[in-house]
């Protein structure tokens, strides 16, 4: 289940869906990312999130398929918001259900790492100093490259 949307979502409802999909079998790991008050700049007041409609869904489907190939998973749910987001609002949710806790943890972290470098979303930080397109972090590329076989993050 992959959703790209402007509106907020309910992590509790996603958790319930994951538990139902894991029925009788185990473990659910979730990650929720929130808008931070500091990023590349201090005093961030909000974010504008742009995406590439069509490619985003394809890229996330590829990430999910990759995760299912690497681990024994029952379900994977990704929600990513786009548009204008205020401080503290939810940006992204990744939830994974598996019979095994180590698979649930690994797959959830993998999906976040892969999403960060291979899904076409771009963040612009909005602040009193002015707007600023966030630059990709070496740390995010490094984290994505830890996984073997490596995540295809494209080549500049």
């Amino acid at each position: 289940m992959i959703r790209i949307q402007h509106e907020d979502f309910d992590p509790g409802a996603e958790q319930q869906a994951l538990e139902a999909e894991a029925s009788g079998l185990g473990a659910v790991c979730t990650f929720t990312g929130l808008v931070r008050n500091h990023g590349d700049r201090q005093d961030v007041e909000g974010l504008f999130l742009e995406h590439y409609p069509g490619m985003t869904e394809r890229a996330l489907e590829a990430v999910v398929a990759d995760a299912f190939g690497r681990w024994d998973l029952l379900s994977c749910r990704i929600i990513h918001r786009v548009g204008l987001l205020q401080l503290g609002e939810r940006i992204v949710f990744v939830g994974v259900a598996s019979a095994h806790r180590q698979d649930a943890f690994a797959a959830c972290e993998f999906v976040m790492d892969a999403l960060k470098v291979s899904a076409p979303f771009w963040k612009k930080e909005l602040s009193a100093e002015g707007d600023h397109w966030v630059t990709q972090k070496d740390g995010d590329r490094d984290r994505a490259q830890r996984w073997s076989p490596k995540i295809d993050a494209g080549t500049p």
Binding site: Y52, D152, G154
Partner: protein, 83 residues
């Protein structure tokens, strides 16, 4: 024709979200970059290699050497920063 898209900071710098190029004389994504670089200083600067630019062909990550054919959708954008 080849449909060309630009996103995020690159879209803003070029003041262009989308354009079309005839497919003649274009064999690779790199040929498109060469063509675009000749459109003026902002374009030359954007594709000079100073800031990294990613390319996707038909919504899949690609490289400058990747083949492009008539009817393809080719997108240029900065490294992604979602999540």
């Amino acid at each position: 024709m080849i449909r060309i898209l630009f996103f995020a900071g690159l879209r803003e710098r070029l003041h262009t979200a989308e354009l079309e190029l005839p497919a003649d004389h274009i064999a690779t994504a790199g040929d498109i970059i060469t063509d675009l670089s000749q459109r003026g200083p902002a374009w030359a600067e954007a594709f000079s290699g100073g800031a990294p630019v990613m390319v996707a062909i038909n919504q899949t990550m690609a490289r400058p050497a990747s083949k492009v054919v008539d009817g393809d959708e080719v997108a240029f954008f900065p490294p992604v920063t979602g999540g």
